[in-house]
């Protein structure tokens, strides 16, 4: 069995040629970090990627941003949305293409990204309600929180299938991360975190990916981690069209405190994510 010796870092090494950070993200990231760069430089870097540019403009004009005037040029988008946010979106809007090189037989890419996108929308909405955090950064964290799953499904398909069977056999008394932990010695959150570290993603993103199932264990960025932890469960509610918390993995009560939110917001956030999903999915999965 090839899994016996495998560690999250081994898996990341295995896929290094198959999945890479989007070029447009790397270019924009370099410019945002460079104090001598201008908005015009960033707009030019964005403009080099026609597919991303088209998606960025559609998104800037979507209900998600609700700008009063139409955003018709990249320069305008960079100015209105902000450079840090454009960097986040360069990652968000290109990541599905990046992972197309990691196919698997367990979940369709459409269903995988549906959950991720619902989590991203729920996280964004929770963040707006919680205030004092960056909705676009949380959106990106929501999109990326389960990327470790795609790696496990591609590299260790049999063990991954056994883990899902264990969840069903237990009538969901055993959750997915716990089943993975029992069969592999680690779960998808740890694999995702290893990739995020390898890619040198922002520390907040790394923490959200690593601890979305165990928010109490996050040593930093506790608020953002708590928001993604909650958003993950709300995304599952949105998917099965329920507002009963029992229909999704339990939310750690401490996460509500850490997020500064009341569980009463569940229904509004689930409904909002469902409502926004159709338009955003088209932009996100469009070519």
């Amino acid at each position: 069995m090839n899994s016996a010796a495998a560690t999250p870092d081994d898996l990341i090494r295995d896929i290094s040629g198959l999945v890479t950070l989007p070029d447009v993200y790397l270019r924009v990231n370099r410019l945002v970090e460079d104090p001598n760069s201008s908005n015009a430089d960033i707009a030019r870097a964005v403009g080099q990627d026609a597919a991303f540019t088209a998606k960025l403009l559609k998104l800037a004009n979507s209900a998600l941003y609700n700008f009063p005037a139409s955003v018709d040029t990249v320069a305008k988008a960079v100015t209105i949305i902000g450079t840090a946010q454009v960097r986040n979106l360069a990652l968000s809007l290109s990541v599905a293409n990046s992972f197309a090189g990691l196919p698997n037989d367990l979940v369709s890419m459409r269903n995988f990204w549906k959950h991720s996108l619902l989590c991203a929308l729920a996280a964004r909405e929770l963040c707006k309600l919680a205030r004092r955090c960056d909705p676009d950064a949380l959106f990106t964290a929501g999109l990326l929180h389960d990327i470790g799953e795609l790696i496990i499904f591609n590299r260790l398909p049999e063990q991954a299938r056994d883990a899902l069977l264990m969840v069903l056999d237990s009538q969901e008394e055993i959750g997915v991360p716990e089943a993975e932990d029992r069969l592999l010695g680690f779960d998808h959150a740890r694999v995702g975190a290893a990739l995020a570290r390898q890619w040198n993603l922002p520390a907040t993103l790394q923490a959200c990916i690593a601890w979305h199932h165990a928010p109490a264990r996050a040593e930093a960025h506790g608020r953002e981690v708590a928001l993604i932890h909650i958003a993950n469960s709300l995304a599952q509610l949105a998917e099965v069209d329920s507002i009963e918390p029992a229909d999704a993995p339990a939310i750690d009560p401490a996460a509500w405190t850490a997020a500064g939110l009341d569980p009463e917001v569940v229904e509004a956030v689930v409904r909002k994510a469902q409502e926004e999903f159709g338009e955003i999915e088209k932009i996100f999965l469009g070519q």
Binding site: L168, S170, E173, G175
Partner: protein, 218 residues
């Protein structure tokens, strides 16, 4: 997160299974504080005890049937090998022939076993689950299964007291024959393919059986 217990010493003893059901895997369920049998596609389970019967359904159907007076009851899990019958009209036209014999078989096996263990036909009540369209674009096998089982129960004059069928979700069902309580949980699409594989294996296995003779019709 609660663990599936094994080797715990503080659990009540597992109730004895009825003859013929010894092979069905059962385990303790923390949420319901009860033992529960888990059945796979093609299987069924009948009990006179205070225990649950659980399964996960994609496009398959589970009928949960019990004697409302004595509490004897159980659950089956089946689907029709509908690939040879492409739409509902032809499905109805060939009713009681090849395409439906596995449905008849599953329903009659469950009902007969309940009656053999003391259930009375006039006391039987039914809850129906499953028949989801969990793959888009393909023939709606789930709907064919729903149509079959409704027709079957109609002909047999058995009352359906509750149902949750159709839609696009896989389901996890837990049924307690003693009380008639049934809990249904919709499952996220992450589980679709694992459930579909179980159902495909079942369909492949029944397709290999000869058209007549091997399956006993009642």
């Amino acid at each position: 997160m609660m663990a599936l217990v094994s080797g715990r010493t503080d659990l009540p003893p597992m109730p004895p299974p009825l003859p013929g059901f010894e092979h069905v895997r059962r385990s303790w369920n923390n949420q319901f504080q009860s033992y529960a049998a888990r059945i796979l596609p093609g299987e069924f389970y009948v009990t006179r005890q205070k225990e649950g019967v659980a399964t996960t359904l994609g496009s398959c159907i589970s009928a949960c049937i019990r004697d409302r007076v004595t509490g004897i009851g159980g659950m089956n899990h089946f689907m029709l090998p509908a690939t040879e019958v492409s739409d509902l009209a032809s499905m109805k036209a060939v009713n009681l022939s090849d395409a439906t014999r596995f449905g008849n078989y599953a329903m009659e096996h469950l009902i007969n076993e309940i009656m053999r263990n003391g259930g009375r036909r006039q006391n039987l009540e039914v809850k129906l689950f499953g028949g989801g369209r969990i793959i888009s674009g393909m023939t709606d096998v789930g709907l064919a299964n729903i149509t079959f089982v409704r027709d079957y129960l109609d002909i047999e004059s058995l009352p359906v007291v509750a149902e949750d069928v159709g839609d696009i979700f896989p389901r996890m069902v837990m049924f307690f024959p003693a009380t008639g309580v049934a809990k249904v949980k919709r499952l996220r699409s992450l589980h679709n393919n694992v459930i579909l594989d179980e159902e495909r294996r079942y369909i492949d296995s029944i397709k290999k059986q000869p058209v007549s003779g091997e399956v006993e019709l009642f």
